[in-house]
Symmetry: none
Subunit: 228 residues, 4 copies
């Protein structure tokens, strides 16, 4: 009859524990179908995608898709699971400290570059997933409410703590840590988006160069160094 292994997706994305639990109960078929959905949704958008195409892409029959995900919308909802796990599990588990713990002596530019490079790579590797979700998120607020209300604050808290600590140590100048985070996030996202929309028009160089430049601008600003 109905398979739909794992708990229902509704309201079960409150925190990482629940998300991991759900993910563990998923079978290979779940992942196989979800990957197909990610591919199709990211290419055509949620509404323009056809469940038949997801099925074909997954190499299963249409009925099977619905055995594993009760509705088309559940496919979208399900994508939050790998997204959150891939992007936040390491961070939230280990804290960002680990990344910065062993920066002994290394210049802050290098450390920030590592950080940005990691996120850029992650975003590039998961671009379809991000595209599928991000493009539909504005129109399904109730679907993503748990993320906004539960997960986002956790992320902000980690980020804030990181910036605050560094500011106290004097690594960064003292500004609103959330502003610092938003600024970095914006530049990072802006880079990834523009890179994928119109790399030519923006005359983007190879990734490593761009990342270094981005970090440089973020850290030093546009004004001339005053010491000179």
């Amino acid at each position: 009859m109905c398979i739909n292994g794992g708990p229902p997706l509704n309201d079960d994305l409150q925190n990482l524990e629940q998300i991991e639990e759900t993910a563990e109960q998923w079978t290979d078929k779940h992942w196989q179908i979800l990957e197909a959905a990610v591919k199709v949704f990211s290419e055509k958008g949620f509404n323009a995608s056809r469940t038949s195409e997801v099925a074909k892409e997954a190499g299963v029959s249409e009925g099977t898709v619905f055995n594993y995900f009760k509705t088309k919308k559940d496919l979208l909802k399900g994508m939050l699971i790998p997204l959150l796990l891939r992007f936040f599990r390491p961070w939230l588990l280990r804290g960002v400290e680990k990344i910065f713990n062993n920066r002994q002596g290394r210049p802050v530019e290098d450390v920030m570059t590592d950080l940005v490079r990691d996120r850029v790579h992650l975003a590039q590797a998961n671009l379809p997933l991000i595209k599928a979700i991000a493009s539909e998120a504005p129109f399904q607020p109730e679907l993503f409410a748990p993320v906004r209300e539960q997960i986002l604050p956790q992320i902000l808290e980690v980020a804030t703590r990181f910036f605050q600590e560094e500011m106290e140590k004097g690594t960064f100048r003292t500004i609103d840590p959330l502003l610092a985070f938003r600024g970095l996030l914006s530049m990072l996202a802006g880079y990834v988006i523009m890179r994928n929309i119109a790399p030519e028009e923006f005359q983007l160089q190879e990734e490593e160069v761009e990342i270094r430049r981005l970090v440089d601008l973020y850290l030093h600003g546009l004004l001339p160094r005053e010491e000179s």
Copy 2:
């Protein structure tokens, strides 16, 4: 029988002259219907929107919608016209110089703040329009190709010229002007998006404060001022 006043939209968005021409040939009904479409599309997304709802919102019959815009997609295409006109006509007509011409003596922070404020206000005022277009753009590349290929380079050129001149004058330090532009654009867009997604979670202050902080971060970077 078919009205569809003005030239067909296809391939007629190559430059501002053509766009203005098309806009002038539009009747009030065109605008009335397009505004309705903007409202509906921005709330539900292009594919989830119903032409019937656009008609109701516009206060006309469904048939009339199709008298003015041959297809649903033409409604989307048509939105590019007010978007481009509102965002770029003043810039491209007068050049950004005008904005900076009369900055005699005013500190660069203030001038940049004016610039950012202007764009933020514009974005806020046209948020539905932006949302309607931006959310569908990734899935209709051919629809937006003329913009990317014709309009975007014009914009980039103006922006580049501005940054370059200022760099030569010493107002800004010398970096890739496109990088400078992308950085500013990213921060600007990031601010507007986050403000509209989750103002609470990001603890956003009143606009003027946020804009000043944003410009400060953009201009000075995150590192402590070295002279101190």
Copy 3:
């Protein structure tokens, strides 16, 4: 967009006034489609019927069916309207008295025969309608609740009044008038049903003969006349 002239069917079948109102707001298309639905539903049963077949039978497109009746179930609900109007409007409007008013001097057998004949003819003429509704009624109690709770009591009241008056006049012997009504209704329905299921097996004669026999059995019972 949506036509669906007339008020929504839900909860609007409380009394004959509302039913008549709804019926008057129906267009020819409504009736055309409903007749087709009656035909199809009565032949295959509600669930086994296909809306596509209803459309074909009505000579309209499938979309048109749903313009006039929002759902397949609404087609079923809509059938109550002609059913009730055809079976009860005359009765409830004029009272059964009219039928019996002018029976001056005529033997009660003849009057009852007229009554039964009228109902049998009506039932025969509306057999598909009855079949379509009656076969689904047991499984859609909420759909027919208004009829059971509002219309049925009205009918029972009229019937009760009729039998009671005749009993007081001495035309009938004094028994529970509802029992008398149920008995007549049962025989009438039983006759119509058996006639349509297996006329051969029940060796049914021509209608007029059967009706006279039925009335005779109903009025005199199975026991021998005691006077003899």
Copy 4:
């Protein structure tokens, strides 16, 4: 692989011998599944019932249902077996005579009351079975053809014989024995149906009272006794 114990159901319901034979070859699982089907079908109707629900109700897997009954329709067909056995085996085996043999001296009212009470109890006890079959019978004529053509005539013959004998004995007045049977059957069925549709609206009393009244009306008719 396929079990489907017992002979195929098609065309094997010609007479009671074959039916009994089939019933004897059925295992407990057959009965278990069939009872579940009766429950589900009687609640939702044949077409609206899901084989998955039958399986769940029977406490077996969906596959098992189809091991015992090749198709969903076979479940319906199979229901004829308990129906016919329960309703007609005793009658046909022993003849109705047995019931009437020992009526020595008892008034005919009492004897008829016994008869009616027996049938009413039987119907009440098997209501789901009757409902499941009766509601689908009009739309599956070929399924029930053997019953109509083979079993029904046998029943009618027994009934006819009974009424005829009693008429010859003078217990009943002489009318068409089939009419007498149809009249009784109608009243009986009408009572059971109305009792289960709307006992309140019909103001039904306790069963024993209703049965006595029903028999009284059937035997004496509605007219006043002429001897008084």
